[in-house]
Subunit: 375 residues, 2 copies
């Protein structure tokens, strides 16, 4: 066995994306102690930068020491108690994962099902709220990574508030790539991931909790079933007045990376990043359509950072992905769940949302499809 030297890849799947040298260099700086005051100062900066990215003043904003699924679980285990009803909007893989989380907390999940590739239907969501007046939570995915569809987070949060429900919002793929406005929406518990549009390595899940959510956590009848993800304990480490108390050892170097990637987002500006994503999406979409390929998600419901492409009849989707990877060093994503085998997913995240990368991707896709045809 030898040291692992990864192959050169352009990562145009659903995340991770290529991490910039600047972030990789930051991550490789010497490890220091997780209770060192220099480190604690950096933790405070990360929290402030995350508030900027989430557009929130929420005090309880921090990165969970695990991937997006740990952040998801953090939201559910803290807010769902046995017997609670949660309305879960399901229009892809990650809505289904939310449903699993509710039932594993002993809650009752009422699902609002929409076709994959469609946004959550707010009319159906409202009907479910009316049919379940005792519901405590509405949970939905803003940007479904499995389909490339965007749901109307502002409207779903408004509806939930009207029916006195808390919201749990998945912004794993959205944060940094399209508008996320936690305070404007009034979203209560929100999680994201470091490896999508924040363009950091995977392994951290930024979360933010509003005052209503924290009140619910403080007034639970039962203990949070996860010790690792118990907000009451996490608060003692991340934001105790007069000294941090040890909870777990934070993933120090990953936090260096997140800090740097958030600084880069701040330097660019949120609106500038969103408009960059949008214009490169248009370039990619135009190029795909000019190749005769179909982009099934309607403009307006689309995610500029993650584009689902229908695999044409007679084309072997796995073969094209293999050719893209082996001949061109480009990773694109396969379909997940019920879309497996019928779509590709092309992600333009972080520095990969650029005209150069779009051209590279289109050229490689053309060549791969031609080579597959003539092989």
């Amino acid at each position: 066995m030898h040291s692992f030297i990864p192959p050169q890849r352009t990562l145009l799947g659903p995340g991770p994306c290529n991490v910039s040298d600047r972030v990789l260099e930051a991550m490789a700086r010497p490890t220091i102690g997780h209770l060192d005051s220099a480190f604690v100062g950096m933790m405070d900066e990360i929290r402030s930068l995350l508030r900027f990215a989430f557009k929130t003043e929420n005090r309880m904003t921090l990165p969970i020491s695990g991937p997006g699924s740990a952040g998801m679980e953090c939201c559910f285990v803290n807010l769902v108690e046995p017997g609670d009803t949660a309305i879960v909007c399901k229009n892809g893989v990650f809505g289904g994962r939310m449903e699993e989380n509710v039932t594993r907390c002993g809650g009752v999940a009422v699902t609002v099902d929409d076709d994959w590739g469609q946004p959550v239907d707010v009319v159906k969501a409202e009907a479910a709220l009316k049919a379940h007046p005792g519901a405590k939570i509405v949970a939905f995915v803003q940007a479904e990574t499995s389909t490339g569809a965007r749901s109307d987070a502002a409207e779903l949060c408004r509806l939930a508030q009207e029916h006195d429900c808390l919201t749990i919002v998945d912004t794993v793929t959205s944060l940094g790539g399209i508008e996320v406005s936690i305070d404007e929406w009034g979203a209560d518990a929100v999680y994201s991931g470091s490896q999508k549009c924040l363009a950091s390595p995977p392994g951290l899940s930024p979360v933010t909790f509003g005052p209503k959510a924290l009140e619910v956590v403080a007034n639970r009848r039962t203990k949070v079933q996860s010790w690792f993800l118990d907000l009451n304990l996490l608060m003692g480490y991340w934001q105790a007045e007069g000294g941090r108390s040890y909870h777990h050892t934070a993933p120090i170097n990953l936090l260096y990376a997140l800090h740097e990637s958030l600084l880069m987002l701040k330097e660019e500006g949120l609106e500038a990043a969103w408009s960059r994503y949008e214009s490169n999406y248009e370039l990619l979409r135009a190029g795909l359509e000019s190749m005769g390929l179909s982009v099934p998600v309607t403009r307006g419901d689309h995610l500029p950072q993650l584009v689902t492409v229908t695999v044409p009849d007679g084309v072997d989707e796995a073969e094209i992905r293999t050719r893209m990877l082996e001949d061109h060093g480009i990773e694109i994503g396969a379909g997940l769940g019920q879309l497996a085998g019928t779509v590709w997913r092309i992600g333009l995240m972080g520095q990969n949302s650029s005209p150069e990368t779009v051209r590279l991707c289109l050229d490689a896709l053309k060549a791969s499809m031609r080579d597959a045809e003539t092989a």
Copy 2:
């Protein structure tokens, strides 16, 4: 806000320790996809290297994508079902955390309490097993990070087997520093951490599960309460035959680092590492005693990688730690829990277990105590 440049530190606390340049460089290599076949090949190497480190043939050996507390929780949520009785040996902070895990899974924790700084008393553990014939699990910490005491893992595992109990063993601080022999002990579920004697950055928790534990997981009456830590799902990603299925996005770059640090351990050899730890412990202990300081853990129950030192009467323990950090760039650990304020904890882990570091530490401690006295 600017890029974070960490201060220079020699990390002689309870972990993390200084990470070698070789491991930091490995970590900073370009991120690739978590389903890339090159990455999957490296995952297999990590599993094989972890089997080497744990001295086990267990197929189900992998790093959990979170810190040691996530690995701990993984063991408990998979093995403890509501109503199950677990005998938890408590001789420090981490035994207490195990107790919390049992009760949060709906289990009943029967504690065997020993004084902090003492190993687990096997006679008391046996009495508890006899008094609770229906117990399902015996849980203990091999190397109590909060006290520096080592318990007799082989004997505790033997007793548990005699009483038909599964064992959950914490090897967070032990793995790589003292003997850990999972198969010889017959331990059933074991977790560790990347940032102690493996000398990798924090954020990963190697775990290993034996066949009896896996059978119990397969025959559960209830679903595992954590989706993120459900072994049935993790297996699909880490060891599925005929293709991995996506579960969560692995912390790719941290895994590069773990791979490299395990390679380094393999290059050195387990026995060579253990004997290096032992001889540097003797150097440190002799130096401390020649300064008139007391090392309360009896030789034989000691951890060579983590030495508890009694703070002498009249010495301000926090002042000394501050002087060590600010004047000498050396981090040593404070006491935790009931030992807060009365001990220091000096860790010699990874490359820091060396005669040079021992001398550096002793010189700085002497100077800090002298300076505190004359200030």
